[in-house]
């Protein structure tokens, strides 16, 4: 059962190696998609190439389905996965400013790193700007602190706010993604450059879309919230299994399973 680190499967030093490996894969797929090129990235804002939206939505949907199914199968304890707290006003303002920075500078933080390593000078300058921007924020923080904390709602999910169960939310997200794909492909065909748009067979796309909706529909029917709640009720089995899983690791593991271990300082971006 995961998450492995929080259940004491490995220590901090090993986690940094995992970070480098995960980051390697992250940077690799971003560069494959062409996200080291500012013109490819910003083409979405001129309706010519929606690769950014397709990659983001697909990644979100795949990972969301993975998390929910893992939790249903009992492979991942979602309550131990860090959930970003909602602070609605700074998030809206930050999103708007980040969007302006994106179309102005051509990158977002991670893609600028990928751009820089592939030799783009504008990517490197963008990184310099981000460091400067972070410094300005830190220096102005006493003035911004009130706003930074405004609209705090805690770590809430869409299902908490909309009061619908997570399975139905998952189905809605799948439907929204499929609808968005269909819409942006039509827009691309109209405004985009056919030489740079991806090739792909219609049948593959239809199969993929059908699979997404099917996976979402299954979740909506089985209702992961209920399954996880029922499992928590039959709790006696769970701690036993956990201590079994932790046993092969030296005593440190016991300690890390306590709530005091949870790293909270910077689990955000």
């Amino acid at each position: 059962m995961g998450p492995l680190y929080k259940l004491g499967w490995f220590d901090f030093a090993y986690s940094l190696q995992m970070a480098a490996l995960t980051g390697f894969l992250f940077g690799f797929v971003l560069e494959r998609a062409g996200f080291g090129n500012a013109r490819k990235l910003t083409a979405i804002f001129y309706l010519r190439d929606f690769a950014v939206l397709k990659v983001m939505f697909t990644a979100i949907v795949v990972c969301m389905l993975g998390l929910l199914y893992f939790s249903v199968f009992g492979w991942l304890d979602l309550s131990r996965v860090y959930l970003l707290p909602t602070h609605i006003w700074p998030q809206i303002a930050g999103g708007l400013i980040l969007g302006i920075g994106f179309v102005m500078g051509g990158y977002c933080p991670t893609t600028s790193v990928v751009a820089t390593v592939s030799g783009k000078l504008d990517g490197l300058i963008f990184i310099g700007g981000m460091i400067l921007g972070s410094f300005i924020f830190a220096e102005l923080f006493p003035l911004l602190e009130g706003f930074y904390e405004a609209g705090a709602m805690g770590a809430v999910r869409l299902s908490n706010v909309l009061k619908i169960n997570a399975g139905i939310i998952a189905l809605l997200v799948c439907l929204m993604a499929v609808g968005a794909y269909g819409f942006v492909e039509k827009v691309e065909q109209k405004f985009g450059d056919r030489d740079t748009l991806p090739i792909g067979s219609k049948r593959m796309k239809r199969t993929g879309a059908a699979l997404l909706v099917l996976f979402g529909l299954i979740l909506a029917i089985i209702n992961p919230d209920r399954i996880v709640a029922e499992r928590a009720k039959t709790a006696p089995i769970l701690p036993e299994r956990r201590s079994e899983a932790v046993k092969p690791v030296p005593p440190k593991a016991e300690k890390s399973a306590t709530p005091g271990f949870v790293i909270v300082e910077d689990e955000g971006c």
Binding site: A33, N37, A59, Q91, I100, V113
Partner: protein
């Protein structure tokens, strides 16, 4: 043609989703990168003005921990992302010194805009507690309420101002 044809975005999306799921399963947290740059600031200030770094209310949260500010999961993730991007660009012969810009903008204007855009992004990412990967991607996959609002705000901000930067890209 503005740029070459890259990998199919749906395939990349599936792979990126699996990388994100891997991070959740192993570490119990998602991807991210923007706090790396805040930690670089914290490390720089701690080096040049240690007293200020300890007193400054925002930087101190990075400095006062028991580990140095750069010994962090996200810093190593960003370093890895640089290596992964380098490897991918290398195998496709895409490593080339250049300034990416549209045909109707000069090099220096483009670089000034990159700097300004970077400053806005660095500021905004700290304000929103994350960027496109740490907030929008990671949070949205977990169905966090604020992350979905944040993601739509990014698109809103960019689409609302894209017209003013059209000469930079088209």
């Amino acid at each position: 043609m503005m740029y070459p044809r890259y990998a199919n975005p749906y395939v990349i999306g599936v792979l990126l989703g699996l990388v994100l799921l891997f991070a959740f399963y192993t570490m119990g947290r998602g991807l991210g990168s923007s706090s790396t740059f805040a930690r670089v600031v914290a490390a720089g200030v701690a080096l040049t003005a240690p007293d200020h770094a300890k007193k400054a209310p925002y930087l101190s949260k990075y400095v006062s921990q028991k580990r140095p500010p750069l010994m962090s999961w996200l810093v190593f993730l960003t370093l890895g992302a640089g290596l992964g991007g380098l490897f991918s660009a290398f195998i496709s012969n895409r490593i080339k010194g250049e300034v990416v810009r549209g045909p109707s903008i000069g090099v220096s204007a483009r670089l000034w805009l990159a700097l300004a855009g970077g400053i806005l992004s660095g500021f905004a990412a700290r304000l929103a507690r994350g960027c496109t990967s740490g907030q929008a991607l990671t949070g949205a996959a977990e169905l966090a309420f604020g992350s979905w609002i944040f993601m739509f705000s990014i698109f809103a901000g960019a689409y609302a101002t894209a017209y003013f930067f059209r000469k930079e890209w088209l």
